[in-house]
């Protein structure tokens, strides 16, 4: 009997240690996963700033001329990022402008208006669009959007560089961020309290009035979250954009039919050697890109809060 209870104690101790071991193992994984974002920011910040420090091995760069420069020439080692930031903002916000109304109305249609089979069909189409890799969108853009713009430009008697243009980038990005915004808007609209709608009907509003004034307004917060994610994707999209952007050396580009240069296309352009200033400066661009995404997120949040005040 005594022997058995000893065995039992041993087993209990073993089980306690086993628990402790696995708990710490799981905890360590959680810490690693959550530290990654900090590691990414720290390392890219350190590398991105390094060309502007006095002890930089390939010659110190002037941070002011980097941030305000309107020319980017790899061959002459002139790196000015200001016009690239403006180009990125233009193409990102323009594509948001195109995709946002389409996405929100599609989401509204899927959840509130369409018969169930059609709603499901559109939702599946959105899911498939979301899962198409960006490089495939790039192939589509090069083979379909670019020739389309070339023809359009010929029709309007405008010169283009074979169709690679700001307009091509905007159309491509609109298509790419459409599923992101739509699927998040669908979730947001589904979550709207049915009582609000009933109240609206009880007050004599039509179905359309209810949909547009009550449903969309209540789902606003989620819809704007979708817009933020969509904009982030538009700014950060690299491979597909670099296939149609054309990489202009100066700017900014306001003409829809002119070639452009975004931050991501700059980071991918002419990537050959993995040392030297030309390589390191890409990390500085990456750092600026992360800053732009962060600031535009804050800006959209600000807009969202302002709209909330008007309608409250």
């Amino acid at each position: 009997m005594n022997n058995l209870s000893n065995e039992y104690k041993k087993l209990n101790i073993f089980k306690t240690y086993q628990d402790l071991f696995f708990k710490s193992l799981f905890f360590v994984s959680a810490v690693i996963s959550s530290l990654m974002i900090i590691i990414i920011i720290l390392f890219i910040a350190q590398k991105g700033i390094s060309p502007f420090l006095s002890n930089y091995q390939y010659g110190q760069q002037n941070i002011a001329s980097f941030l305000t420069g309107m020319v980017w020439r790899q061959d002459q080692a002139i790196y000015g990022v200001a016009f690239i930031i403006i180009n990125t903002l233009i193409s990102g916000f323009a594509s948001l402008l195109v995709a946002f109304p389409i996405s929100v109305l599609t989401a509204l249609f899927v959840v509130k208006i369409a018969p169930k089979p059609i709603g499901n069909l559109i939702e599946s189409a959105i899911e498939i669009l979301a899962s198409i890799p960006s490089v495939v969108y790039g192939v589509f853009a090069v083979g379909f959007i670019v020739p389309f713009i070339q023809n359009l430009a010929n029709l309007l008697r405008i010169q283009t560089a074979g169709g690679s243009s700001l307009l091509a980038v905007i159309l491509l990005l609109s298509i790419m961020i459409l599923p992101t915004i739509t699927s998040i808007s669908i979730t947001a609209i589904k979550a709207v309290d049915i009582d609000l709608e009933k109240a609206s009907y009880a007050l004599g509003a039509s179905k359309t009035q209810t949909n547009f004034k009550i449903v969309l307004n209540s789902a606003k917060s989620g819809i704007f979250a979708g817009a933020i994610l969509g904009l982030g994707r538009a700014f950060g999209e690299a491979t597909a954009v670099s296939m149609v952007a054309g990489n202009k050396m100066f700017g900014p580009t306001f003409n829809l039919f002119d070639i452009t240069r975004t931050m991501t296309s700059t980071m991918l352009a002419g990537l050959k050697e993995t040392t030297g200033l030309d390589y390191d400066i890409r990390f500085s661009v990456g750092l600026v890109l992360m800053g732009v995404i962060l600031i535009s997120n804050l800006a959209i949040n600000f807009v969202k809060n302002r709209i909330g005040k008007n309608h409250a």
Partner: protein, 403 residues
């Protein structure tokens, strides 16, 4: 009955119009990619390397007849004098080529001696069926060396006729068919293996910690939101991170630049948020009664987790795996930085290579963009991604049925 409002009609009309846009786009993309890529799509694509190998070899003398009991197709032409059969074919760029379709075991074409200068000079060339014939030089009855083959715009039939009239063959210029995706396919499989091997354990363990140990912990919201932040990071920034943070790890194993290993490590971080979120969702739906029953039977926490909770959450973990594989296959920007853009036919763990998606980028950015091949690879990627979408749907449905 309320009078129909003009404004309502316009708004409704807009809704109908806009919601058809996404379906229209999807159909356009699919039709376009399939139309452009379908003719370049064939089984040989999967097994042939991207770069074609050129061979220039001298042909030894032969004075016999190579009778063959093989039944040749109508488009194959056999030379009994030299024991070789040729046929016309198309390459990945849809150009007409002449291909070796059969070689007799004793044929002089099996004993070509490499004549191009270099380390392989004088070594035996193994001519194989499927290789492209560019030029065959022969000696005429009056001792003059002449050439036959596609170089002189001859097709298979004409080439065979010409060499049959010769006294003896002199040399042959043959090459392997390029334009395949075998290397990228292998590299992609390696990527999937490496990144899942790292990402799945860490992701699942993190999800378990968040849901089973620290559901209401003080730091749990912080951990959660910092993982959520990862989803908003553009993939090209992950590429930069891989070069900076993860390259030293691969350097320990002997990598001295871009490598598949580095690409896999980078991808494993990109996958983390998806795996953690999907696994956590599936842990949440495991009923608490399962946990209570296990504990009341005397199991400790870790036993409950490994024997009860993880098996119950398996469909969710499988969903996470499938989603991750889809992401790996489609990823390009991060891999351009970490694996390079040089298409490698023999991918090695510690050397650079391309995945299928990066191969598309690479051939579209080359000097001669090969649109047909790019579309063909796009079709392959689309089909895989579509299949996985359906797989996830089926899985989610079966998970709901379970309890």
């Amino acid at each position: 009955m309320r009078k129909l409002n003009i404004k309502d009609i316009i708004l409704d009309g807009l809704t109908y119009l806009f919601s058809s846009v996404s379906i229209l786009i999807l159909i356009t993309i699919f039709i376009f990619i399939f139309q452009r890529g379908f003719s370049s799509l064939n089984l040989g694509l999967f097994t042939s390397p991207y770069w074609s190998q050129n061979y220039y070899g001298t042909i030894p003398e032969s004075n016999r007849i190579f009778e063959s009991d093989v039944n040749f197709d109508k488009n194959e032409f056999y030379s009994e004098k030299y024991g070789i059969a040729l046929k016309d074919d198309f390459n990945a760029r849809n150009e007409v080529i002449v291909v070796i379709s059969y070689i007799h075991p004793d044929s002089p074409f099996n004993q070509l001696i490499n004549a191009s200068s270099g380390i392989n000079e004088g070594k035996l060339i193994v001519a194989e069926e499927g290789m492209i014939v560019n030029k065959i030089s022969y000696i005429t009855s009056n001792g003059i060396t002449r050439s036959a083959g596609p170089v002189l715009k001859q097709n298979a039939e004409e080439t065979i006729k010409t060499i049959n009239q010769s006294i003896q063959l002199d040399s042959a210029f043959i090459q392997t068919q390029g334009g395949g995706i075998m290397g990228s396919l292998i590299a992609t499989l390696m990527l999937i293996f490496i990144s899942l091997a790292i990402s799945l354990p860490i992701g699942i363990m993190t999800a378990i910690y968040l849901n089973e140990y620290a559901k209401y912990g003080r730091f749990t919201p912080w951990i959660r939101s910092s993982i959520e932040l990862l989803t908003g990071v553009p993939s090209i920034v992950f590429g930069l991170m891989g070069v900076l943070v993860l390259f030293p790890i691969t350097a320990i194993f002997g990598a001295n630049g871009t490598s598949i290993f580095l690409g896999g490590l980078t991808l494993s971080i990109i996958l983390l948020p998806t795996i953690i979120r999907t696994t956590e969702e599936s842990l949440k739906v495991v009923p608490d009664s399962f946990r209570e029953a296990s504990h009341s039977l005397g199991a400790n926490h870790s036993q409950t987790i490994f024997k009860i909770i993880i098996p119950a959450a398996l469909p969710g973990i499988l969903t996470a795996t499938i989603l991750s594989i889809g992401r790996i296959i489609g990823e390009s920007a991060a891999l351009i930085y970490t694996m390079g853009t040089y298409i490698s036919d023999k991918p090695e763990l510690l050397k650079g290579a391309t995945s299928l998606a990066v191969q598309i980028w690479s051939i579209m950015n080359g000097d001669q963009p090969n649109f047909g091949l790019a579309s063909a690879i796009s079709i392959i990627i689309l089909v895989i991604v579509l299949g996985m979408n359906i797989g996830v749907k089926v899985l989610t449905r079966s998970k709901v049925k379970q309890w």
